[in-house]
Symmetry: C2
Subunit: 344 residues, 2 copies
């Protein structure tokens, strides 16, 4: 198995990526190789400086260009054919690597993934899954921002995408799927939520546990939280910011934070670096997106999630389940997505 | 000035309401009277038990029925004409009281307010404003859950409603109005957000500061946060729950929380009882809704907010500003709302 890692993604590239890669090779068990995608001179200079590492398991794929965080994603992907993101995803499409991890521009990874890997049949809208820490087990939220205007059929697909990820990558055998809403009752919420509730209720293959209110997230009331990308993105960014805000004040106030196991647990829970990046689900491949400010540990964990997704055959499972689910629901979505995947 | 207080609203009625009323009479300066709306026997028994209070400033308005938290709002309002919520809001409509504070069913207060007080001209959709604590000054979020499916014109009205509340009740002379969105640029977000951004930009009477992402809320990047009631309600409930979650752990871990001024400040900031309830804005009156679990302090603060809204003539200011703003924007909304207000 070979995992490609964008070496030009983080704010402190390529140092963070190189450290994360070496951590992954040392700490994650199993037979895998890593391919650092980036400017060969820059990356190899960085590799020289770190001293010893398993050279036979780490190679470089030359990609001299970098897509900067501020660039308009679609045009950057078109213009920068030699960027680490485009080169890495092309290698993934051609099968020379089995997954692609990047801490670069989220928009560019999404655009390039849609363009190069394509959506799977049965998937109208690939979606970003993000892990939200809770007081219990973490929750996978789908969509975290890829699709801001959604119809019920899209959310239904997100439910399947999230459930497969939770089951295969997070090892939750019967993932509980919840719908983000503003009340418990089926008739509560906006039109999108009410209609989605009907779709999810009628799909026997999903372990649908009903509506999840904002207050139920932190208690871990579901494994998969289904939402449109607008509410999802607002929630995600708010969560990250409030955690950081409290962390900052508490760390300043409490020098011996680490002396308290419970407090340490809270901080770990609030720390996104514990989790393995945000996969773009529903494409014919495994692109995983990390924060631009990721430390090496977050990169390592994203590589771990990528390995798990490859090992379990997540993409093939998704293809099979989504096609079946959407055909049962009338076939429109599956047909449409199939056409999209085959089209220009 | 007379403020009506629903004496049957909280989970621990009427004790909490009576204590909150007496706190308000003792601690809030100015000439005002309170009217406790509820079962006369129950409320006067409670008043007897508390000992001394300024009897000339506190009276009881008999309302023997209570709308329970679980009841369907509209039918409960129709069936229970002698409930504290309906009796209190009728008194408000007839002018015998100047505002109505309730910790009862949010849905019932909303339904009864719309039915009895009516929307102001220029307001299609009255909205709930909620105060969100931040690291800087608090933010007024409109709408916090009254309207789940909104059009841009509704959010435009929410912006004005929130700005008037921030200016008059929270004393922010030039309130910064922000639009909840998933990116900074005007073209970011769903259709609703993009079109609302245009409306807010073109309205010179608003101090519109642009899009506010989830991560910008906690830094206090605006005074008024405009959103539809779906995203707003999700955010609000999530905020309350995460604050409570962290509070619980920290209180358990840190017995001397109060020894740290900064930590105390955090807890105060996260404590909704510091803030004066959630007003329903855009109706011909001042209904203020509190949590069912409110302590006396929260009731007192809601009474304070009600007094401030009456003193500043918030309703008349809203009527004037909204009519003018909506007429400038084409007049449709103002005309429609006027018809609604006059109609059955």
């Amino acid at each position: 198995m070979r995992i490609a890692l964008d070496a030009m993604g983080t704010d402190r590239f390529p140092a963070v990526e190189v450290q994360g890669a070496i951590q992954a090779l040392r700490e994650i068990p199993g037979e895998f190789e890593l391919v650092l995608v980036g400017d060969e001179a820059v990356v190899s200079a960085e590799l020289e400086s770190v001293g010893d590492y398993p050279r036979d398991r780490l190679s470089i794929l030359h990609a001299p260009q970098r897509i900067e965080p501020g660039e308009a994603p679609a045009s950057a992907v078109r213009r920068k054919g030699n960027s680490s993101i485009v080169v890495g995803l092309k290698a993934h499409r051609e099968g020379s690597v089995d997954a692609f991890v990047s801490a670069g521009s989220t928009g560019a990874v999404m655009a390039a993934s849609l363009f190069l890997l394509r959506a799977l049949p049965g998937v109208d809208r690939p979606a970003i899954a993000t892990i939200l820490p809770t007081a219990a087990d973490s929750v996978v939220m789908v969509d975290a921002g890829a699709n801001v205007d959604c119809r019920p059929v899209h959310l239904h697909q997100f439910a399947h995408l999230g459930a497969i990820y939770a089951r295969e990558v997070l090892r939750r055998p019967m993932p509980r799927v919840g719908l983000l809403n503003i009340g418990e009752e089926p008739e509560k919420g906006n039109e999108l939520a009410v209609e989605t509730h009907e779709l999810l209720t009628s799909d026997r293959r999903l372990n649908f546990v009903g509506n999840i209110e904002g207050r139920d997230i932190i208690t871990g009331a579901c494994d998969v939280l289904v939402t449109d990308g607008f509410a999802g993105n607002v929630l995600l960014k708010f969560y990250e910011s409030i955690a950081g805000f409290l962390r900052g004040i508490l760390k300043r106030e409490l020098r011996d934070v680490d002396a308290s196991p419970d407090l340490r647990k809270v901080f770990e829970a609030l720390d996104y670096t514990e989790y393995g990046g945000a996969p773009l689900l529903g494409v014919n491949g495994i692109p995983i997106i990390c924060h631009g400010g990721s430390p090496p540990r977050a990169i390592k964990n994203a590589i771990g999630a990528a390995i798990r997704a490859v090992e379990t055959g997540m993409v093939e499972l998704t293809r099979a389940e989504l096609t079946a689910a959407m055909e049962r629901m009338g076939g429109d979505a599956a047909t449409r997505a199939g056409r999209l995947a085959e089209g220009a």
